[in-house]
Amino acid sequence: MSAIETWALTLAVFLPAAGTLAILLVPKKQESAAKVTALIATGLALLAGIFIALRFDYSNSSSLQFETNVPWISAIGARYHIALDGISLPLVLLSLLVTFLCVIYSWKHFPEPHNPRVFLALVLLLETGMTGTFVAFDLILFFVFWELVLLPMYFLIGVWGGPNREYAAIKFFLYTLFGSAFMLIAFLAMYWKAGTFDIVELSLNNPGFAKSTALLVFGGLFLGFAIKVPMFPFHTWLPDAHTEAPTVGSVLLAAVLLKMGTYGFVRIALPVLPEAARSWAPWIGLLAVIGIIYASLCCFAQKDLKRLIAFSSVGHMGFVMLGIATLTPVGINAAIFGMVAHGLITGMLFFLTGSIHERYHTREIAELGGGMLKKLPILASLLAFISFASLGLPALAGFPGEFMSMLSAYNPAPGLSTGTFRTFMVVAGVGTVLVAGYFLWMLQRVNLGTVPERWESTEMHDVNGYEYAAWIPLILLTFICGVYPQIILGVTDGAVRGVTAAFGG
């Protein structure tokens, strides 16, 4: 492949990091210069992403493309091995797009304390970490990008967050770190056994762990990834992180960071330890399904709009994990589709909550009092549109992901007991009704009804130019992915076949 192609991916990943440096060089008071640099950095990265997407050979999406494989730390044989296949491409484009939109969105209003330079620098650093995780094919490189993401997010929440942001930031940081420690142990175990850090090699010839050690190693990976997803018992950091994070922070956290966990399962855990995955699958399915029901119930009890959406994304990730737990091509296709769709929808939801918060200066549903359709017609109708997308209305992005994950749960990979997975399917089905319940109830309390007198007088401007610019792409993509799901399935299907071949997929 020509030179550009080999370096396009590295460019897309590290351009934002270069942007960070560039921003820090910009003198403090010239805020607009910092914003422009950030915009250029994310813009160019997005262009690189689009260039890659156009040049990507969709016919064999399971083979690694745009590969760069250069020795990095030769002492332990860790290589700078980044590449792209059907599974990584949508996620990379998602993270590039969402960060670009975040920069546009926060053009006019930055959260307190007002320091756009450092804020944007952290966002760019975050982007590098995120994109890198999706393209890294070497365990150490993956781990580096995995940890790189924690730092900027910690500061985003810790400095620009809400009232008790320190607690939330620390909890987020330590919780994920705790998980990644086990993940690292698992990586090392794999290294000692197989002698290499390269994911491709590990997937081709799996390290010959004994049965029980394989389970343990998978357990380590599971803990690391499950905390990030987040799955049922390990999710308590997410609502706090979201309630305290600034709008852009929680958009990125929801749209992309959560996907690193599920991506980790699909890329590392499943292909490298198929046997352990087969015995872990029912438990993952169980936790996923509990997650769906549990999160929906918690959503009913929420008073804060943003916390409600945070719990709803726990529920959605439950569907994604159910798809993965079935170990079938349909399931994993559903998972990846679910990831991208969730990224678009929940990203948009957090944008909207951010805008509501910026106008009403509160997120308490009771405080909002309803009647938003009268007060802010466009904003409210967008909230309704996206809520319907989120509760899985067909012809919108939420539906295919959930539908296919339940479809795959009906008949899981050979070796998994169909009985348990069909009960998971039924429970997930009930879950969709609960999801519809709390979303409509939220809409009723926020959008419908009459405008309470306390908001009667306050003057509020409806959606402004920057918000439109940031939201139109997300809305269009939600619509397109819903009407024509082949746009993502076409890309991921080939790659997924490769991954699930080990499970008789």
Partner: protein
């Protein structure tokens, strides 16, 4: 993603282009359009697309366009109606069904395609949906003139019609499910039109959630059939089912699950509670959605997949009792009873619809496909007429309750006569539409030895006649009990009433006994059926109707019935309260399921989340900060620090002691050096030994 977008746009546009060429090609020899055997069927996709286009145009440009955006909806439906009528005539002429595929895509090993299939049944549904929708569009021009959010109403109306047509025309279960849910959303939006008042939006949510529960069941049914047949394609599944390709157990499970969807959407017994509350929406909506189109979606689903149901439940003469028939019969009866005690005119009609839907489901349950479909056809006509009639009355009286009406036949003659015709048709007065379709169902119930269904059918027929007479007499006869002075509705509203009235009268004869009519044109997989004259069913049906009408007149028109009957006779009073509380079903659901989930269960779940799981996490945090930290601090201070300090002063003493050897005497140093070297040499030599 965007690359895939580029490729997908190309695919989608090629599909559209292809269709456009098809249309253009049709344009070239436009003359051949009508006389080609099934050429209009090829235009079927246009009928579906037009409402969607109308929706987009109204949504974005509605405010600024003529008739405040209604223009797009009306023209879209007008064109759709014309094409549908053309298609109906072609189908009646025996045109072959036309199948059209759009794009197929692959979800992990399985082929999923989207496409339309136009056969006689679809065309009949097209005709019904577009006709009623068009009339409702015209009607709403006047009815909704000074209502709030007029444009949004029309946009949602077109979206609804589009989704309904999409569902009806789809050739596979997945696409049907998509249409099914879209229709559900539109009903939510339309029911909750006046969302200022909370009850209206709650009714909308109730409708959506109840149908959603049914949809989940239906989705599982689709999964079962999909994995049994390997495809979503309806033709494929039904073919396999008919040919015994699917094991009976699986087929039974699939059919029952699908039927749960029907129960939800067509408001059958356990899940019927949402339809009466759906009357909170504007009356044209009730007429269109909750009378003619959406609620019959369930019937359409069963009828469309009749082979699945037939083989699963062994429908047909002498078959065993099956869930479809049982649910249909129960719904039929309880709804009719409930309709007796309603004061709100729309609630009466709503329960009447539930009851008639029960009729159709029971008809399908006994295996009478043509009877059920014909009843669907006729019912759509006169129930829409009744709803629109009630709308015009409400519009005039500004109240839904019959207690504020009475004696309106003088001021509103057209509404009165059309309403009368509609009620007569519904009651089964011979010659009108209802008579023929109901007679057909009773005939089949009797003929297929389902005597229970036949009996309940007769009872319901009588009850129907009774409550309709009650409704008519309370509304149009006696003195005017309301305030203000009602006057006839504008022509825009009365014209559709007249059209529907004419149809209610004539449509019945389409399936006249012995005539190659409806049963022949619209047949399931070619099983054409000609209605035979069955004296028993006809006489029994007519008698039941007559009894009902006479009883109604006796109580409500001539007011001869002994007053105060209710409070004296215990069982009547008893039944009355039971009916008034809608068999306490609503309370059961609200208190039993909705409130606990919404409040208590969620509080418990959130409490668990905060106290236990978060508790553990915070506990770990606190534990590390407090217990562990203190312990490590103590360890650090006393033990580690202690050790360090000791070492320090030990070194000090040692240093002090060592200092003395620095005597300053050079010779002593040399002596020590010599001895040390000697010892070293000995050690080395000994080691090397």
């Amino acid at each position: 993603m965007v690359g895939a977008l580029a490729s997908s746009v190309s695919v989608a546009s090629s599909a559209l282009l292809g269709a456009a060429e098809a249309a253009a090609e049709h344009g070239e020899h436009a003359a051949a359009v009508l006389n080609g055997p099934n050429s209009t069927l090829k235009l079927g996709w246009l009928v579906v697309a037009l409402p969607f286009v109308g929706w987009l145009l109204t949504l974005f440009f509605g405010k600024r366009s003529p008739m405040r955006g209604a223009i797009y909806g009306v023209t879209a439906l007008g064109a759709g109606l014309l094409i549908s009528i053309a298609m109906f005539f072609q189908v009646a002429g025996g045109a072959a069904p036309y199948h059209q595929k759009f794009y197929t895509f692959d979800i992990g090993g399985y082929e999923v395609s989207t496409g339309f299939s136009f056969d006689s049944f679809t065309v009949m549904m097209f005709a019904v949906v577009t006709l009623i929708s068009f009339l409702v569009h015209i009607y709403s021009l006047a009815y909704m003139k000074d209502e709030v959010r007029f444009t949004f109403f029309y946009a949602t109306l077109s979206l609804f019609t589009g989704s309904m047509l999409l569902m009806v025309a789809s050739d596979n279960l997945l696409q049907m499910f998509v249409g099914w849910e879209l229709v559900g959303v539109c009903s939510y939006l339309l029911i909750g039109h006046y969302w200022e008042e909370k009850p209206n939006s709650s009714a909308a949510i109730k409708a959506f959630i109840t149908t959603r529960i049914g949809d989940v069941g239906m989705m599982f049914g689709i999964f079962v059939l999909f994995f049994a047949a390997g495809t979503f394609d309806i033709g494929g599944i039904n073919g396999l089912a008919a040919s015994g390709g699917i094991k009976h157990g699986i087929l039974l499970a699939g059919a029952t699950l699908l039927f749960i969807g029907v129960i939800g959407k067509s408001a059958q017994f356990p899940l019927h509670v949402w339809l009466p509350d759906a009357m909170a929406g504007p009356t044209p909506v009730s007429a269109l959605i909750h009378a003619a189109t959406m609620v019959v979606a369930g019937i359409y689903l069963v009828a469309r997949n009749f082979d699945v149901f037939r083989t699963a439940f062994a429908l047909g003469p002498g078959g065993p009792a099956n869930v479809v028939m049982i649910i249909g019969t129960i719904t039929m009866l309880i709804a009719a009873l409930l309709a007796m005690v309603q004061d709100d005119i729309k609630k009466v009609l709503a329960y009447s619809t539930v009851s008639q839907l029960g009729y159709m489901v029971a008809a399908l349950g006994v295996g009478a496909w043509t009877a059920a479909v014909f009843h669907l056809f006729t019912h759509a006509m006169f129930k829409a007429l009744l709803f629109l009639g009630s709308g015009s009355v409400i519009h005039a009286v500004h109240s839904n309750n019959m207690s504020d009406m009475g004696g309106l036949r003088k001021e509103m003659p057209v509404t009165f006569w059309t309403f009368l015709i509609g009620s007569a048709a519904l009651a089964g007065v011979p010659g009108l539409a209802g008579f023929f379709s109901k007679d057909e169902i009773l005939h089949f119930a009797f003929h297929n030895h389902y005597y229970a269904v036949f009996g309940v059918g007769l009872l319901t027929a009588a009850l129907t006649a009774l409550y309709m007479t009650r409704c008519v007499s309370l509304t149009f006869f006696g003195e005017f009990r309301g305030h203000g002075h009602p006057h006839e509705s504008p022509r825009l509203m009365t014209v559709p009433l007249v059209v529907l009235a004419v149809l209610s009268v004539t449509v019945g004869s389409l399936n006249f006994w012995g005539m190659k009519g409806f049963g022949v044109w619209i047949a399931y997989a070619g099983e054409q059926h000609v209605a035979e004259f069955d004296v028993v069913a006809m006489l029994a049906g007519t008698a039941a109707g007559a009894i009902g009408i006479l009883l109604g007149l006796w109580i409500y028109y001539w007011k001869k019935a002994p007053q105060g009957l209710l409070d004296r006779v215990a069982p009547f009073r008893w039944a009355h309260t039971l009916l008034m509380n809608k068999y306490y079903l609503d309370d059961l659901y609200i208190k039993g399921i909705v409130r606990p989930v919404q409040y208590s269960l969620s509080k418990v779940a959130y409490w668990i989340n905060q106290k236990i799981i978060d508790g553990v996490v915070n506990g770990v945090g606190v534990m590390t900060r407090k217990a562990l930290a203190e312990a490590t601090y103590w360890l650090d201070q006393t033990v580690v620090d202690g050790f360090v300090n000791d070492v320090a002063n030990e070194a000090g003493e040692a240093g002090g002691a060592l200092r003395r050897i620095q005597t300053g005497k050079a010779q002593q140093y040399v002596a020590v050096a010599v001895v040390a070297t000697a010892v070293l040499v000995i050690a080395v030599v000994w080691a090397v030994r």
